[in-house]
């Protein structure tokens, strides 16, 4: 297509015509010193805390320290263009980011500017980055499930809408994978998602965005990316930016899920910022308010009451541990703030249990309140069965003769561990999860060899879908194992068991 010269001239002419000349009245100050993403500004007398200041070239700064003789300011952008003596203007605005449905499907930076090359975000609303979390009266107990699509999580450490469930573990053992699956699992629900990438490689973020796009999850997801090359203030504030975007849905009676990947990097960015601002360091050189930083952030994820629209914001913060050390400063802080944690373990991961969830150490403090009845019926004994299995397995390793009851328990345990495994990017809906768990808990798997479990699961789903799809539909609708459903399911599982054995050539 050829662009006509007059078309461009016309656009520019219109823009010049629209441009309103106004004499701006500014309160100003001057830069005293600048470096490491921090500028100290003299003047700007009536500057407020967390106010945005404008540096030459349109670079924004965030007033963090108001001192006797200067204002300590985190520069949200490239500091190399700022010199000593530069004029700084007050904007009179507390830091704000665009929010609203326009942001869905977009990738934005730490302060809400698009970085996906898809043009402007014409968001109608903006919201303050730092707001106080809803109070006690504005809240309601967490009572509806927010499925993550992972059998192990939904069965044993259920996450409710409005809950904060920590995902903790070493590097490279599937923390991000678990959370990305949780986002993909919201595909057929009314939950909007926000993925906040803090201090990650740009290539990693690109991979996540690509994965979300491939699984049709991008249309309801906003990605906030403050990557490793972005200045520390951006990485610090991006978590709050993402929360503000999620809160929009919560406050409009909708549901949202936010993933912070990860909060350890955010803490490191905040430490850097604080030390440069000369705030006194505390344990592990983190500033004294690092706990408050995380608690006020996560407290904003909540379930609000019916008068306020009964919306919710569910949070899945990620914390990376060093060599499994959960007793370090930041992990203990965040564990104590959240409503439970999913603990991922390298040993399990490398022995093939993926997601590598350590069932013993993972808990959900909301628990059964966030589970439907069907899930409670099948998962009630699951945790106990697995705990007993682990204990017995330790004994069985000595290889002595075992009685039949012990043998049966071992067989059951091995199969339960096996069915809790799940491939990546394959979150399951609740009705499928409860079906396989039902089959496991009721001994349908016991006569089958362990290495056929994955095949059994997949083929069972398609068998039921093609032969008696009403089972899934009923489970989805009634959310309970009624006698009628049980009867139908038992029949289907019996029949499928026979065909499965036949196709696999088992006796």
């Amino acid at each position: 297509m050829q662009i006509k010269a007059e078309e461009i001239s016309q656009i520019i002419k219109d823009q010049i015509g629209e441009y309103e000349t106004s004499i701006d009245l500014n309160e100003t100050g001057t830069v005293i010193s600048v470096g490491d993403g921090i500028a100290r500004v003299y003047g700007v007398k009536n500057c407020m805390a967390m106010e945005l200041l404008e540096f030459p070239g349109g670079i924004m700064g965030l007033a963090l320290n108001l001192e006797e003789d200067n204002v300590g300011c985190a520069v949200l952008g490239n500091v190399s263009g700022i010199k000593e003596g530069d004029l700084v203007k007050r904007t009179g605005k507390i830091a704000e980011v665009p929010v609203g449905p326009e942001l869905e499907g977009r990738v934005v930076d730490g302060i809400g500017f698009p970085i996906d090359g898809q043009g402007d975000i014409n968001a109608k609303l903006s919201s303050k980055v730092e707001v106080v979390a809803p109070g006690v009266i504005a809240r309601k107990g967490v009572h509806e499930p927010c499925y993550t699509g992972a059998k192990a999580v939904d069965a044993m450490t259920p996450v409710g809408r409005g809950q904060r469930e920590l995902v903790i573990g070493d590097r490279q053992i599937g923390k991000t994978a678990l959370c990305v699956d949780a986002i993909i699992a919201q595909r057929d629900t009314d939950v909007h998602c926000v993925y906040v990438a803090i201090g990650q490689k740009k290539s990693t973020v690109a991979l996540v965005v690509e994965a979300l796009r491939k699984h049709d999850a991008m249309s309801y997801t906003t990605v906030v990316a403050a990557c490793a090359s972005d200045p520390a203030p951006m990485q610090y504030i991006s978590a709050f930016t993402g929360t503000a975007m999620g809160e929009y849905f919560r406050d409009n009676g909708q549901h949202a899920l936010i993933v912070y990947d990860d909060l350890s990097k955010q803490a490191v960015a905040y430490r850097e910022l604080s030390l440069l601002l000369r705030r006194p360091p505390g344990r592990e050189a983190y500033p004294g308010d690092i706990f408050y930083n995380h608690s006020r952030l996560l407290e904003r994820s909540s379930k609000v009451n019916d008068e306020l629209g009964a919306g919710s914001l569910t949070a899945l913060p990620i914390i990376e541990t060093q060599a499994g050390d959960v007793s370090a400063f930041i992990p203990t802080n965040v564990i104590s703030i959240t409503d439970g944690q999913v603990y991922l373990e390298p040993n399990l991961f490398f022995s093939g249990v993926r997601p590598a969830i350590n069932v013993g150490l993972s808990v959900s403090r909301v628990g059964g309140a966030a589970q439907v009845k069907a899930m409670k019926q099948v998962a009630g004994t699951l945790r106990l069965d697995l705990a007993q299995f682990r204990e017995l397995a330790a004994f069985a390793a000595f290889g002595s003769d075992l009685d039949a009851a012990t043998q049966a328990q071992l067989t059951r345990g091995e199969r339960l561990v096996e069915i809790l495994k799940q491939p990546q990017y394959a979150p399951l809906p609740m009705e499928k999860q409860v079906t396989i768990l039902y089959a496991g808990a009721n001994g349908y798997l016991d006569p089958l060899p362990i290495d056929t479990m994955a095949d059994y699961e997949n083929e069972m789903y398609s068998y039921i879908e093609s032969n008696d799809a009403s089972i899934f539909a009923d489970l989805k609708e009634q959310e309970e194992f009624t006698d009628a459903i049980k009867e139908k399911l038992n029949k289907a599982l019996d029949a499928f068991g026979e065909t499965f054995k036949a196709t696999k050539g088992l006796k």
Binding site: Q15, L25, N26
Partner: protein
Amino acid sequence: MKQIILARRYAKALFAVGKDDGKLEEYNNALQGLNEIFASDVGLADSLTNPLYPMDVREKVMEGIVASMGVDKVMGNFLNLLVEKKRADVLPDIAEEFQIMVDEEKNVSHGSVVSAVELSKELQAKVQATLEKLTGKTVELTPSVDPSIIGGIIAKVGDLELDGSIKTQLAGLKDSIKGRE
């Protein structure tokens, strides 16, 4: 870097003495004069602050300056004290802080107005009147000419800046066109 906290303390002390004696104006003139000499003559500032010179030499230099300026005893003592306390380098900041305090006392503020061409008397009076209305204080304007702003004026009083220059408006227009791309 400016040593504002320090300068403010010294200025406050001198201001208190000056107010009691009713010699604020005189002290201010002396300080501002000295500040100008400081700014124009690097050697002088160096001779008062450079630690390579022995203390007694530096003190003598200041005594000489005090004698030649013919300031009164209190002011002389103040300046000698500065050298003695090794704070002679803060003098420009003290002068600035002192000016602000004197202005506050008299309810005036100093401002500047930059224009592309020299302003006529009436225009300058008009700018002054506007600024006085805005700040609620008597404004003393220092006019200057800077052709690079193309047209319009930039008026400044304290932290307040009124920018009506063509240069800024063109920059704003550029941003608004670039911003839509």
